[in-house]
């Protein structure tokens, strides 16, 4: 199954569970306060996910390594390379 397929199945499952419990006709035995709490749940979850995303990306952005040493080392390598290649006869 594709990732899209998995998402659709998951959403269908959760969606129907939510609909059955929160929007239920009086046939199902769930007390009214509970049903009222369940009603905005999808929206809450979406907002929570949004906050989680922002926090995660923000954290990862802040901890993104800056490779100063690697850059300096690369410059050294480049000088060494150019000198050696010139010695071996490379015409740049």
């Amino acid at each position: 199954m594709t990732k899209l397929g998995q998402w659709l199945c998951g959403l269908a499952l959760l969606g129907s569970a939510w609909a059955a419990l929160a929007l239920a006709p009086p046939g199902l035995q769930l007390p009214a306060p509970l049903r009222q709490a369940l009603l905005p749940l999808p929206l809450y979850l979406l907002v929570a996910f949004g906050c989680y995303s922002l926090a995660t990306v923000g954290y990862r952005l802040a901890t993104f390594n800056d490779c100063e040493e690697a850059a300096a080392e690369l410059q050294e390598h480049i000088s060494a390379a150019r000198a050696d290649l010139r010695r071996r006869g490379l015409r740049f």
Partner: protein, 240 residues
């Protein structure tokens, strides 16, 4: 497998207008491999560069020997990484294939090669873990990179932390199998390789790499790139 035993590494270098960087990359690769004692070859696949890249490549072949440097020119309207790798693999005699860019953005390191000792099918360089990282990136570029990677992780759950880096090591037969299965173009192709590799049950090891912004030349990350990235991502989401 003992280090420096019967393993041979074939490095595939697709090039387009890399006249400045190519000799430096080759020199670094040669030195790294000689230090590690591993048998290697470097296959340069040039896309008909107008700046004389091929001529420089042939000079390098003269300097290092044509058993170590193999130069091929491919002139193709549809040149992409995929085309370059297909052509490159035809000439590869190694049992491990290293794929990297010729623009000096990947810091060639010995550590990377040694990691294949973990017996992984694929070793992938990552900028996002360990002491991997970048140099010369402004905040905006870092934000886009992390944001795009986050979306990718959520949608594709690929089991690898960096999908768009293209510094990778593959076992030859693994790469051949993946090339048959992957259909995307450009760097989305790189992403698809990892996703499909996971689906096929291949093991993927990760090694931190330093991505130093292009020493010569311009790197572009504009609106167009972002849009095409999202399109590619959604296509993978829907098809893998």
């Amino acid at each position: 497998m003992a280090a420096g035993g019967t393993d041979k590494f074939s490095v595939l270098l697709p090039t387009y207008n890399e006249r400045e960087n190519l000799p430096l990359v080759v020199w670094l690769l040669v030195r790294t491999f000689q230090e590690s004692g591993n048998n290697f070859e470097i296959i340069i696949i040039d896309d008909g560069s107008p700046d004389g890249t091929q001529e420089v490549a042939e000079q390098l072949e003269g300097i290092y020997g044509s058993d170590k440097i193999i130069v091929r020119e491919v002139i193709s309207v549809l040149f992409s990484s995929g085309t370059a790798y297909i052509h490159g693999m035809k000439h590869a005699t190694g049992n491990f294939i290293v794929i990297m860019d010729a623009d000096l953005s990947h810091h060639v390191s010995l550590y990377f090669i040694k990691q294949k000792e973990g017996n992984f099918d694929i070793v992938s360089g990552t900028r996002y873990k360990g002491n991997g990282g970048v140099h010369g990136w402004d905040l905006k570029r870092k934000l886009i990179s992390r944001g795009a990677n986050f979306i990718t992780q959520v949608l594709l759950r690929p089991g690898a932390s960096d999908l768009t880096g293209s510094f990778r090591l593959y076992r030859k037969e693994v790469l051949q199998k993946l090339m048959e299965k992957c259909v995307s173009k450009g760097y989305v192709f790189q992403m698809e390789m990892i996703v499909r590799a996971r689906q096929l049950g291949y093991t993927i090891g990760e090694v931190p790499i330093s991505f130093v912004d292009r020493v010569y030349g311009e790197s572009k990350l504009g609106g167009n790139e972002i849009v095409s990235f999202l399109k590619g991502l959604l296509t993978l989401f829907a098809t893998t």
